[in-house]
């Protein structure tokens, strides 16, 4: 089976977010970049599906030149090839992103059985690109999936909800958007990393488009005035902690 997994490069944020002076982006000079968490699991899931059912997995990203780093990461754990829709760094909105991906898939000539996405990107959190791509091809779509199984031409997908699971079943080809927790992604091996360097990346530059949701600026949420009360040091603070529990009515 042929799997396409679509990923996004995002800054690896730590304890604090700082913006660039023009408030258009996160200042990432001190940060590394990573695959957005849900998509990191989507890559692992693609590789597991291929290991189980045969075929090949392809990874696709829309992003700046540096996003080849994330494509290589995906290829280092078993994805065979990559499609890089290279941007000049300008953000594509959900409709523009969808169109770029749809055109790339059409131009690619592979008939994918399963198209995997993350449920939402860690940074923009748009919750819609996977669904839009599904409609462009007339495929069924299931979102927010934490368990996936392929049986013949059927996909069984499970969504975790408070107190249980909702179970969906769709025919392939299908779009599935997954959530972190569907698996525990493996670490790339050294031979995997070396192999990934030789795997092919097909690069093209899709035209930017105004899709109707246009970023004006980013803002950090207002900080609440905040004071932490130190109850003490080490085990000797225990009585004060229990006093606090009592005060809050938790005993």
């Amino acid at each position: 089976m042929n799997i396409l997994v679509c990923i996004k490069r995002v800054p690896a944020t730590g304890g604090k977010i700082t913006l660039t002076p023009d408030a258009q982006e996160i200042d990432a000079r001190m940060l590394g970049f990573t695959i957005s968490p849900h998509e990191e699991c989507a890559v692992e899931e693609a590789v597991r599906l291929v290991e189980k059912h045969g075929g090949a997995a392809t990874v696709l990203t829309l992003g700046p030149n540096g996003a080849t780093e994330q494509l290589r990461d995906a290829m280092s754990i078993g994805v065979e090839r990559a499609i890089h829709l290279e941007t000049d760094g300008r953000e594509f909105d959900p409709i523009a992103t969808t169109n770029a991906i749809v055109n790339a898939i059409r131009g690619d000539g592979t008939n994918y059985d399963v198209l995997l996405f993350g449920n939402e990107a860690a940074d923009t959190g748009d919750f819609q690109v996977g669904v839009r791509v599904a409609y462009a091809f007339g495929y069924p779509c299931v979102t927010g999936i934490k368990e996936l199984a392929v049986n013949g031409n059927k996909v069984t997908a499970k969504r975790e909800v408070p107190g249980g699971w909702e179970i969906f079943e769709v025919l392939m080809p299908a779009v599935i958007t997954v959530k972190e927790g569907i698996n525990l992604p493996r670490y790339p091996s050294l031979p995997g990393r070396l192999k990934a360097k030789k795997k092919p990346i097909a690069t093209s530059q899709p035209a930017w488009q105004d899709g109707g949701l246009e970023k004006i600026k980013l803002m950090t949420p207002p900080e609440e005035a905040h004071q932490v009360e130190i109850l003490g040091k080490g085990a000797e603070a225990a009585p004060k902690v229990v006093d606090l529990l009592e005060r809050l009515g938790l005993l």
Binding site: T13, G14, G15, K16, I17, I26, I95, E120, D123, F127, Q128, V131, R132, A134, Y135, G138, P140, C141, V142, T143, G144, K158, V161, P162, G163, G164, E166, I167, F168, E169, L171, K179, E180, G181, L184, G211, G212, K215, I216, K217, L218, M219, P221, V228, E229, I230, L231, G232, G234, A235, A237, A238, P239, K240, V241, V242, L245, L248, L250, L251
Partner: protein
């Protein structure tokens, strides 16, 4: 007209819908437009009454025989739910459609957006009407905001849960008219639907509902290290969670993660143990009324969010708290 989707699952209304309705009413007031609502399934009298207090004029109630099998509840099928909203968009051309930024709200609105090829802004917290709307929306699970321009003949928005205080407006309270209709569905609308459900019950209080959450980070050191956290949580009738580092290392199952890609907790007290306080984690703990941080590092990020702190090694502090509790209980 401004339309709000009122989410229900098997006749249980999602309260986050009323946050979306609050923002929708602000929009309706800004633009002097009537406020409508739509729900899929049955409209209990109680719901109709509640909507009146928000100034809703008409409630559209969609049903589908294919998904209800004779019941009033309509089984969930995202494209079919979206189609009901799309029918109202085509018939009545609302200026905007709003829904809760819940899992389903975002999913249904994404289907509406794909069906109509309209732009959509997810997880908004503020909106200024105009030819294009100026919206403020959450990024990074709420640790960053974006101001954006939203275009489209009908503006599609979801509203970030737990970010807008629900305000009714009894002054304009009125009788809500209902418009019942049967949605015309295609086969494609029915392809993705819930075919069964599995109930899981651990018998323990869930992270989302617990009044006390004891959470561990890298500082816990190992899967076994969580025993002392479990013990404290048991004494308090609370639940145990962990940071993304902890679930990524396999020390706890992913279902226990507190964070942007895990659970959002809202306890009275969150006791964070050996958690540095990455923003990905803090997003999940934002709903906690109080945070007590136990950490060896007085400069850890968590200290800037905590209300109370104990500086020290959790491996000594946590058992000491449990022991003190037992002592006082006798």
């Amino acid at each position: 007209m401004i339309l709000t989707y009122i989410e229900q699952d098997r006749e249980k209304v999602n309260e986050a819908s009323f946050e979306a309705l609050t923002l929708a009413r602000q929009l309706a007031e800004q633009t002097n437009a009537p406020l409508h609502a739509i729900t899929i399934g049955s409209a209990a009298d109680e719901l109709v009454e509640r909507l009146g207090a928000f100034g809703v004029r008409t409630l559209h109630v969609a049903s589908s025989e294919a998904l209800s099998a004779g019941n009033t509840a309509v089984e969930y099928a995202p494209a079919a739910y979206a189609q009901s909203i799309v029918e109202i968009i085509h018939a009545q051309k609302p200026a905007a459609v709003l829904a809760a930024g819940s899992e389903r709200g975002n999913e249904i609105m994404a289907h509406v957006a794909a069906k109509t090829n309209l732009p959509m802004a997810a997880n908004c917290i503020e909106v200024q009407a105009g030819d294009a709307y100026i919206v403020t929306r959450q990024r990074w699970g709420g640790s960053l905001f974006e101001q954006a321009k939203l275009k489209g003949a009908t503006k599609l928005l979801t509203v970030a849960p737990n970010s807008i205080p629900v305000v009714t407006n009894s002054f304009v309270a009125q009788t809500v008219g209902t418009n019942k209709f049967v949605t015309t569905l295609s086969e494609n609308d029915l392809r993705t639907r819930i075919i069964s459900r599995v109930e899981t019950s651990s018998g323990k209080v869930s992270l989302g509902e617990a009044r006390v959450v004891v959470g561990g980070g890298r500082g816990v050191g190992s899967a076994e290290g969580f025993k002392i956290l479990e013990e404290l949580a048991d004494l308090l009738g609370g639940a145990v969670g962990g940071s993304r580092v902890v679930t990524g290392l396999g020390w706890r199952p992913h279902a226990d993660q507190i964070g942007q890609t895990g659970n959002r907790i809202q306890p009275e007290l969150y006791i964070s143990c050996g958690v540095s306080g990455a923003i990905q984690h803090l997003v999940g703990a934002k709903g906690a009324k109080h945070i007590l941080a136990i950490n060896t590092d007085p400069d850890a990020s968590i200290m800037y969010k905590a209300d109370y702190a104990v500086i020290g090694d959790l491996h000594q502090v946590v058992p000491a708290i449990s022991a003190e509790m037992r002592k006082r209980r006798g």
